[in-house]
Symmetry: C2
Subunit: 212 residues, 2 copies
């Protein structure tokens, strides 16, 4: 039977297709990696496809075959990073620890120091003025955040919170961490120890759990 | 007695000095107003003293007399806005309402939609990359925030919280509001109604107050 053939026994044309698929995946990875690297370093407004081709050492044809436009390339790269982030956070959220809120807070904090979030922030301010993200990136962000939250909300519900409360808890953790991130950037928080602030939120939420 | 003379009865030279002081204050106000306007619109890296002089209709000599450098002018303008903000918030904080936490949250929320905060954000991202504020502006921000917090902390202590807890509460309200501000900018919060989030924090804090 065809399906029981090992790779070695496959026909020459099937082997050729395997090799092609591998080369394709490799090309795509190189393009996405170079894209992220440039967005991370220079932001969206200075992003040029010519630089991606130069840095990734992929031919212009190779690029055009996979991504028609700059927007395509950028959105695919960000989506790829989000896929990794979702899988990592979903794994972390799948915990039976009673200290779920601390784990969630930590994971959300880690996200804010990730390369992905830096790329998004760089896109947002790339022109030197505040600007909205492209619709595509905003959609990917919202979809991904919903996916990430789903895992954590499931685990928070196990603690005894309702779904609505669990959503509110996740929303609060995101806002607080985002605020701490911005205050770190501006250096304008009078209190240097922000882990203190996180502890306070965690204790408020754990207290809330005990309220009848 | 000299001091009991009304303005009309003062000597010609004193009248001249009065007029000079008034002209000076007027010149300073025009310069600071034009500075804020340009920072608000274009950010720090595109800020030019020549534009301030053009927009404020103040002579180059008038400017040089009051502010030696671009940095002087910018820091004085931001400090002036903070003086107004501190006075406004100190007045708001001086309340006997039992709903102090809601008032504080609202005042901090209002600050984030103010022209002052927009100017600071524009300075922060003026080059199209994240950069620190100048040391002077960071110092003014921290000093002002401490002043603003002092008023609110006094009123929160009246509710029965300790000073340390009151500081933590203020820190939390600032971070949450800053996070909500950033999420509004990116449009990346899946939940559109952020007043909901604020209500949740307020209810957590009021609940915390009741814990023995």
């Amino acid at each position: 039977m065809q399906s029981s053939l090992s790779k070695k026994e496959r026909s020459p044309s099937a082997k050729r297709r395997d090799a092609q698929t591998e080369r394709s995946a490799d090309t795509i990875n190189k393009l996405l990696e170079a894209t992220i690297d440039l967005l991370y370093k220079y932001g969206y407004s200075k992003f040029r496809i010519a630089d991606v081709i130069k840095n990734s050492k992929v031919s212009r044809g190779g690029r055009l075959h996979h991504f028609a436009t700059k927007k395509d390339l950028v959105e695919s790269a960000i989506e790829q990073l989000f896929v990794d982030e979702i899988s990592q956070q979903t794994k972390a959220a799948n915990t039976s620890s009673t200290d779920v809120i601390r784990h969630a807070a930590q994971a959300i904090s880690d996200f804010h120091s990730s390369r992905l979030y830096r790329v998004i922030i760089n896109m947002l301010i790339s022109t030197g003025r505040l600007e909205q993200l492209t619709d595509g990136v905003r959609d990917i962000s919202i979809r991904s955040r919903n996916q990430i939250d789903k895992g954590w909300i499931n685990s928070v519900v196990q603690l005894g919170f309702t779904t609505q409360e669990s959503e509110e808890i996740l929303g609060l953790l995101w806002s607080v961490q985002r605020g701490i991130f911005i205050e770190n950037l501006t250096g304008s928080n009078p209190c240097n120890d922000q882990s203190h602030e996180l502890e306070f939120v965690i204790s408020l939420l754990n207290e809330h759990l005990k309220v009848p």
